[in-house]
Amino acid sequence: MRFDRRTLFKLVPASFLSSSQLIPFPGGRKRARELGIRIGRMQPGTWNAITDVPGVRVGHSTLIEGTSVRTGVTVITPHDSIFTEFVPCGYHILNGNGEVSGLTQLDSLGILAAPVCLTNTSSVGMVYDAVLSRMPDANLLPMVGETWDAFLNDTAGRHVRQEHVWRALDGAKSGPVAEGNVGGGTGMICYQFKGGIGTASRRLPDPWSRYTLGVIVQANHGYREHLRIDGVPVGEEILNLKPKPDEASFYNSILIVIATDAPLLDYQLNRIARRGGMGLSKTGSIASNSSGDFIIAFSTGNKIKASDFWKGKSYSLQSIEQFDIQPLFEAASEATDEAIINALCMAEDMEGIDGHRVFALPLDRTVKIMQRHHRLFPAEEEKVAAL
């Protein structure tokens, strides 16, 4: 969620950097690993994305219109038959100043029965209705989360409509995931740089090497000085390029969605979700008082037919035993950390409502800082020297 800063907008005059001060990274935006930044020690999946989890698909509807519409919706579909075959799901709230619909039901039933949708604060109702219209079981609730994009977007206009949600649902796909200023992340701000959508994944080690864990975030949180990348205090070293006009606070929110095909039960997924919070904290977040920091975790390793869930006598689920769950904790923390850094690396400068402007993380300066702290791959250091 957010402080209500709309009043502040009217009080503070806009002032912008000139375009000549915006220095693009050679070759455009790059993901953290392409820059030589390596988060953690586990290996990513093929796409280093939540879509590395078999069956998981992601769709975005991005709305960039005129000077004031900077928003959208992102959907994460656990598998093709989610409306009729549920998956175990858990969650964790680091700070609850926000909204994710369906959590009370999730608390009781422990299942996810719809795609997870990420959007802006004012559009939760519209997205909720759009998903509900496609759900065959009206007893179950859509899961729609929000973060506040009003610095760049006319959020009061509620521009996300049913057709945008359906477009994201119908267009959801596996493979590489667009990051940065897309979908629900279009107008989001992270550590006072341009934020938005980011994703990453981890392959689990033996004996669970057949399983993958993936994360997608809608990053809209953090105070600049707190930003750390792989332990390096990058935020302390890049103190300019803050949003214009200056804001009283950017202690905003983040939505984190964790998916795995490792078979887990709902209460185990609560534990996985908590480790997502550990990954968030490694980027510098303190889960501030005004934020809505929500972590949803689901497993596609068990699919529960609606008829079995509601009406049968009993059904069977597979589960990784608690003593073997440790690699999933590490994967959840690492992938969340890297997904947030990817959101920062892939987001581009954006100008929005009332001429407000947010700058992207300067990749050239970031790489040099990381190099100085000896946190780059050797192969990447040669490229840095040529900058």
């Binding site: 608390d107 009781s108 039933l109 422990g110 004996p207 078979p263 039960l265 709902d266 209460y267 534990r271 079995d308 869930f309 509601w310 009406k311 049968g312 006598k313 009993s314 059904y315 069977s316 689920l317 597979q318 589960s319 990784i320 035993e321 608690q322 003593f323 073997d324």
Partner: protein, 199 residues
């Protein structure tokens, strides 16, 4: 149930049964009861210890009895062999007679595990005492269902466990867990709220 007033011990299985755990959850409503062992339940949603009840003024000593039992079962006292002792404080002022720690240990250990006679009590029971309700069932319920069941308790502290899944280490393989459907669970909720035996 072992009773040595003012102590009681609820044994789910013989004290030295092979390593295993059962799902368990609880509900607290405005209760400031002394309970030891809850953080592990919050994290893992399982238990392997007997459930100890005794005066809150003696809860530390009662916990010590549970720790002793756990160590005797396995020096490392892993999660599925008696860690942590689940000890619930009661409000009685009754004083125990001397030597109660040894008596309690002996009473528990006298029920040696015998594989040929091994059986989990299949009864569905409600047990209420000292503003505590215990729900026990062999219907295979997950922790979230047990939490919902515990919330049905009409006492400030309610504990619910299921013997429907006996969870043991799987050595790198996945574990199969049975889960009651919502319809079966609803039937159980109805039964507990109406005609279940109260002892």
């Amino acid at each position: 149930m072992i009773s040595d007033p003012p102590f009681q011990v609820i044994l789910i299985e013989r004290w030295n049964a092979p390593a295993h755990r059962y799902f368990l959850s609880y509900s607290v409503i405005g209760d400031f009861r002394h309970v030891l062992g809850l953080p592990v339940i919050d994290e893992f949603a399982t238990f392997s210890s007997p459930i100890f009840l005794g005066p809150k003024s003696l809860l530390g000593q009662l916990y010590n009895v549970g720790i002793t039992l756990g160590h005797q079962r396995n020096l490392e006292m892993p999660l599925d062999q008696g860690w942590p002792p689940l000890c619930i404080g009661t409000n009685t002022d009754q004083k125990p007679s001397p030597g109660w720690e040894v008596r309690l240990l002996d009473a528990i250990k006298s029920q040696e595990y015998d594989r040929s006679t091994h059986a989990v009590n299949p009864a569905i029971q409600v047990h209420r005492m000292d503003e505590i309700t215990f729900y026990a069932t062999d219907l295979p319920l997950l922790p979230r269902q047990l939490r919902r069941l515990a919330r049905q308790g009409r006492t400030p502290f309610t504990l619910a466990f299921s013997t429907g899944n006996r969870i043991a280490g799987t050595d790198g393989k996945t574990l199969s867990v049975k889960v009651a459907s919502e319809a079966a669970f609803e039937q159980l909720l109805h039964r507990f709220s109406t005609d279940a035996p109260v002892r």
